[in-house]
Amino acid sequence: MADPRELYQQVILEHNKKPRNFGKIHSCTHQAEGHNPLCGDQLYLTLIVQEGIIEDIQFEGRGCAIDVSSASLMTTAVKGKTVQDALKLIQAFRALVRGEWNPAAHGDLGKLVVFQGVKNLPVRVKCAVLPWATLQSALDGSPIASTE
């Protein structure tokens, strides 16, 4: 088994300690809550989407370092992007943690490649995916996402 220390890189530890975009937008246009019933992680996402562009996004909740840093990096990655690009990024991220990511097909992932190591820790894939599944729900207009 790969050493999980390779996954817990500085970027992940740092975003876990100081998550970006942590909070709640009161006048949001989109929102969803995500649950990982297996471990009890919970996440609330609020967004402002105007004319197809994610103007603002914030998250709240509690979870492990993988979950929190994934949410934090996700918000920085999609803020200012079009909804279409965000949906593409969700697919790319899912491919990444399953070990199926291919830059030619899925596009560049920037800093998010730090989550590549999750593919070697099958029990933790759901932690990394939870924020992205929740974002998908929020953009689809369904209020609840679950990893089960």
Binding site: P4, L13, C39, G40, G63, C64
Partner: protein, 409 residues
């Protein structure tokens, strides 16, 4: 027999296997206790040379299987100090035993407006069956709170109980905090206040650590699971006082539990058969009997002294780690340590410890109301058994220290 952990460990091949190319440190016996080779060999012998069904007519083979199966029941009866083997019912485990009581005794005796009293430290197995029952009959749940040290607030007992309380269902030992509840004292006090009260004790985490005497405790029902007692999975025990079992309706219907069946009406045999419809897990029951025989070789005082020594060593070592807090500080606890570390989620710690070969549990331990009580999402829990040694505990302390440093570094 002198207590030699290095000799005992020879009975457990798993303790000697490599894990992620490292030694394996098994500190998860509260999840499931390891099974000595003699138990798996006994079950293998049954399956290879003795396998058939029990309580099936005149075949000698079936008679012999029945004898072994019933002998295991006698072993359990002696183990719990029950007054008769007729008070021992085989179930799939603690969970099924509690559901059995809720669905039979409960449905017969609990009405709208009645109260079922539980404690804040219960496992979901001793919450959900009662919640399901109370929702369907219109009863209420009342809860004995837990103190910051992780002990039951017995000063609240008389207030939580009321003339409407029909059941007190509580755990003997907390699977999260390790706390040993003073069951005998609680039952005496509660029954003084409400003489007709029925008390069920969840012994899942107690039997591997403490001698149990159900009559001395004054329990009406007592339950445990074989796999937490170095026995196999799929088998557990419900002890019930004979008078209560006789008055209860059956739960599952089918073969083995009947006296006679006609289209008009079925009559049932007495307990325990009345509650054992269908073919039971025979090899597992025989295996559990063998596990109890294996454990009875040890002097309980030696086991206690050994486990408590390791518990102290682990607690003292872990407490030196900055930001680490142990949940459950009762002076009367079994060798189970739950802890949380500031800024480090238990699941991350669990992943890192797993890689070091340390098997522990990170999660809510099927006790979400207790997690809420302590305002933590989850804990990391190490549980120590009679076959653990100082290297297991030292490996835990070192790996925890190293992982926490990585997070805070």
């Amino acid at each position: 027999m002198t207590y030699s952990v290095s000799d005992i460990r020879k009975d457990f091949p798993l303790l000697d296997r490599p894990f992620h190319e490292k030694p394996l440190y098994y500190l998860d016996s509260a999840v499931s206790g390891q099974m000595p080779s003699s138990v798996s060999e006994r079950m293998r012998q049954y399956e290879m040379y003795e396998h058939t069904n029990v309580h099936r007519g005149v075949s000698t083979l079936s008679q012999q299987a029945t004898d072994h199966f019933e002998k295991a029941r006698d072993t359990v009866a002696r183990f719990l100090k029950a007054s008769s083997s007729k008070e021992i019912i085989w179930t799939r485990g603690t969970t099924e035993a509690i559901n059995l009581v809720a669905q039979t005794w409960g449905r017969q005796n609990i009405q709208a407006g009645d109260t079922i009293c539980l404690t804040e430290m219960e496992h979901h197995a001793n919450i959900v069956p009662w919640q399901m029952l109370s929702q369907s009959v219109g009863a209420h749940l009342a809860v004995i709170p837990v103190s910051d040290r992780g002990e039951l607030r017995l000063d609240e007992l008389s207030k939580v109980l009321s003339p409407k309380t029909k059941v007190l269902a509580l755990t003997h030992v907390s699977n999260v905090l390790g706390t040993i509840n003073p069951i005998k004292k609680i039952i005496t006090e509660a029954k003084k206040q409400i003489p007709s009260l029925m008390v069920l004790v969840d012994g899942a985490q107690a039997v591997a650590h403490l001698p149990v005497d159900v009559q001395d405790l004054g329990a009406d029902f007592y339950t445990f699971s074989g796999h937490k007692l170095s026995g196999p999975t799929g088998i557990g025990v419900l002890y019930g006082r004979k008078a209560l079992l006789d008055a209860m309706p059956p739960w599952h219907g089918g073969g083995n539990m009947i006296l006679s069946v006609t289209w008009d009406r079925t009559t049932y045999i007495e307990a325990p058969g009345k509650f054992e419809a269908g073919t039971p897990p025979i090899a597992a029951a025989i295996g559990l009997g063998e596990a109890i025989e294996y454990l009875s070789k040890f002097n309980p005082q030696d086991v206690h002294a050994h486990e408590q020594h390791l518990l102290r060593r682990a607690s003292e070592g872990l407490k030196k780690i900055p930001g680490l807090r142990i949940l459950g500080e009762s002076s009367d606890k079994v060798s189970v340590i739950s802890f949380v570390v500031d800024g480090v989620h238990p699941h991350d710690l669990g992943t890192l410890l797993d890689h070091e070969g340390i098997v522990i549990r990170a999660g809510h331990h099927c006790a979400q109301p207790l997690m809420d009580r302590f305002q933590v999402p989850a804990t990391t829990r190490a549980s120590i058994a009679y076959y653990n040694n100082e290297s297991d505990v030292d490996a835990l302390i070192q790996a925890t220290q190293k992982s926490v440093e990585m997070f805070h570094g």
